[in-house]
């Protein structure tokens, strides 16, 4: 029953030597193995490496050299490069790619003492909202295995929800941390753009991508994020400002907190029951001393169209590096260089990735750049200005994370637009580079839904503090799927 502990409790238990890291790692590896046929959350499991690292962690703790996460098992989304370990990004293209180096996030968590149990399944190149675009098969939602876990960090979310690991890394370009967090009933935070290094994080859309964490609670997210965040000279967009101690700020009182309800998010399109769950959550914040007021962000509904210009444009340029020459998939017997490029890419990428590369190629092509790309970047500025204005009136913004709870596997694969609209409430924070998190706030037909909170740049500590105080009053984050008890 060791897996019933939170990540914070596990770290403390290891330090107090209530159990060893080897015991802990062994218990989680067993859970991973048993769950794999049902959930498909992992692409690679690092059993023997993890056990060796656990034995070393136990020696460190015995010698008084324990650090914040010494001996704590975690897993990484398979787009974080891990030295000597296959890193696929959910794609056939990188099926044989063994990274020569560690991503900064991986190195920092390793330095903090965390132990990597494996690499987590995801939508191919993080392009998807249901984890159905993975070359390695769909991930299933632990609350009901006929349903999707959300995406693109679907493996990370399913693994944490099923208690296969107490915490996992994830990334968020348009909602890929918050949306699966909501659909799997866990906590996920996407930090401010530039807060967490993107070095070694396989690029999708570089002005939107940001690494973060999925855990069961805000308290655990604070601990893990504190160890991951910080300036990195290897990432030219990394911001050089000190990382606050997110854990130390968790308990601050909420009296006087001004919470803005995003008017545009509570309009039509949001299911009545989902709106109800959000209002119940907001009532709890009110009881804790927060005041609520409605705010309007009139340009926010243009987030989805702006995103589907900017993200594919950046994707088409980032994914140009997969040429069948330096690494990744190469077609058999190329006739000439063009054939090598076209067939290697045609075979290596799946349908959704090709769709986004082609959309991006089109919007950046001669004659269309101004009409699409520059127009979208101007609209992005209007959206950012809406947020800025709102944060002049309120401290944080709140609303639903997703329009609905999880949907059935296959229900939305036929129509990409329907799939894109899953991220309607999450994309705005990416476009403006803002920190945002999702916490579980109840169930609809036995499937979890989430409350989203968005803050001004670098307000991670405040968001985690509000989420933690909310979780002291509620137990939604303690619910776990019966089948994986």
């Amino acid at each position: 029953m060791i897996h019933k502990n939170s990540l914070t409790e596990l770290a403390a238990g290891l330090r107090a030597r209530k159990f060893s890291s080897v015991e802990l790692v062994r218990a989680y590896l067993e859970r991973i193995e048993a769950s794999q046929p049902k959930l498909n959350a992992f692409i690679s499991v690092l059993g023997s490496q993890a056990l060796e690292a656990a034995a070393a962690a136990d020696r460190d703790i015995a010698a008084g050299r324990g650090r914040a996460l010494t001996g704590v098992p975690i897993a990484h989304k398979d787009l974080f490069c891990t030295a000597g370990v296959r890193t696929t990004c959910g794609s056939r293209m990188l099926g044989n790619f063994v990274s020569p180096y560690d991503a900064t996030v991986v190195a920092k968590l390793k330095a903090a003492g965390a132990i990597t149990l494996g690499k987590l399944n995801m939508d191919e190149f993080a392009m998807g909202s249901s984890n159905e675009t993975s070359y390695y098969g769909p991930v299933r939602n632990p609350w009901n295995t006929d349903f999707v876990p959300g995406g693109s960090s679907g493996g990370s979310a399913a693994a944490v929800a099923a208690r296969l690991v107490p915490g996992a890394t994830a990334t968020d370009t348009g909602g890929s941390i918050r949306q699966p967090a909501a659909l799997c009933g866990i906590t996920g935070i996407k930090p401010t753009y530039g807060r967490v290094s993107r070095y070694g994080m396989i690029a999708f859309a570089s002005s939107l991508d940001q690494g973060g964490v999925l855990t069961t609670s805000a308290q655990d997210a604070a601990l893990m994020l504190r160890e991951m965040a910080g300036f990195d000279p290897n990432d030219s967009t990394s911001v050089d400002t000190p990382v606050p101690d997110y854990v130390a700020e968790l308990d601050a009182p909420l009296a006087g907190l001004k919470v803005g309800l995003i008017k545009e998010f509570l309009d039509e399109g949001l299911e009545r029951e989902n709106a109800q769950r959000v209002r119940e959550a907001l009532a709890i914040l009110e009881r804790l001393g927060a005041s609520l007021r409605e705010v309007s962000l009139p340009n926010l509904p243009l987030s989805v169209p702006a995103y589907y210009v900017v993200a594919p444009a950046e994707c088409s340029s980032n994914l140009a590096r997969y040429d069948g020459v330096r690494f990744g998939h190469r077609c058999k017997d190329p006739r000439d260089l063009q054939d090598l490029y076209r067939r290697s890419r045609g075979e290596g990428f799946g349908a959704e990735v090709k769709r986004r590369i082609m959309t991006g190629t089109y919007v950046l092509s001669a004659g269309y750049y101004d009409a699409y790309y520059l127009k979208a970047q101007r609209v992005r500025q209007l959206i950012a200005a809406d947020f800025k204005r709102a944060f002049g009136e309120v401290d944080i913004l709140a609303g639903p994370t997703t329009p609905t709870a999880a949907f059935r596997i296959g229900a939305k694969t036929a129509d990409p637009i329907t799939m894109y609209l899953n991220d309607i409430y999450t994309i705005g924070a990416n476009l403006a580079g803002l920190p945002a998190l999702s916490v579980p706030c109840g169930f609809i037909d036995r499937l979890p839904v989430g409350l989203q909170m968005v803050g001004p740049h670098f307000a991670e500590a405040r968001l985690l503090n509000v989420a933690h105080r909310y979780q002291l009053e509620t137990d939604w984050h303690r619910h776990s799927p019966e089948r994986f008890a």
Binding site: N96, F97, V98, P100, T192, Y193, G194, S207, S236, V239, E264, D267, E268, G269, P298, P301, V304, P305, Y308, V309, S316, A320, G324, R326, F327, H329, L337, Q338, D339, L340, Y341, R342, G346, F349, A351, K354, R355, I357, M358, T359, T361, Y362, V363, S365, Y372, L374, A376, Q377, R378, V379, R380, Q381, L382, A384, K388, I417, I424, L431, A432, G433
Partner: protein, 110 residues
């Protein structure tokens, strides 16, 4: 003025690409497509462009395109100095085809 419900209903007339345009985009993107894939992308890319066409409703006169998600920040530059060591053997270990430290590609110049 803008309404999320509109995106859910999708009532506006479709903008249509042509088959030749899809083939040209695929060539520019260096993607080989199966013949059966072309109508699929024709339909979905046309619909994506419809969605994106919503941007025309926004008045962006006098608004500068966003250059960096954090206001006032620009890309940081580093000194123009060599910081990397030569690790080509490690990096080429995952290449499809190498010989004598060089990446092999089909003949380019006759």
């Amino acid at each position: 003025m803008y309404d999320f419900a509109l995106f859910f209903s999708f009532a506006f007339p479709p903008m249509s690409l042509t088959r030749a345009q899809i083939e040209s985009i695929a060539l520019l993107a260096r993607l080989e497509l199966e013949p059966a894939e072309i109508p699929v992308y024709l339909e979905s890319l046309s619909r994506i462009l419809d969605l994106v066409g919503e941007l025309d409703r926004a008045d962006t006169g006098g608004v500068a395109p966003m250059a960096h998600p954090l206001p006032g920040l620009t890309q940081r530059l580093r000194p123009d100095a060599v910081t990397e060591e030569d690790r080509h053997e490690l990096y080429q270990a995952c290449a499809p085809q190498v010989a004598a430290g060089l990446y092999l590609v089909p003949k380019v110049i006759e």
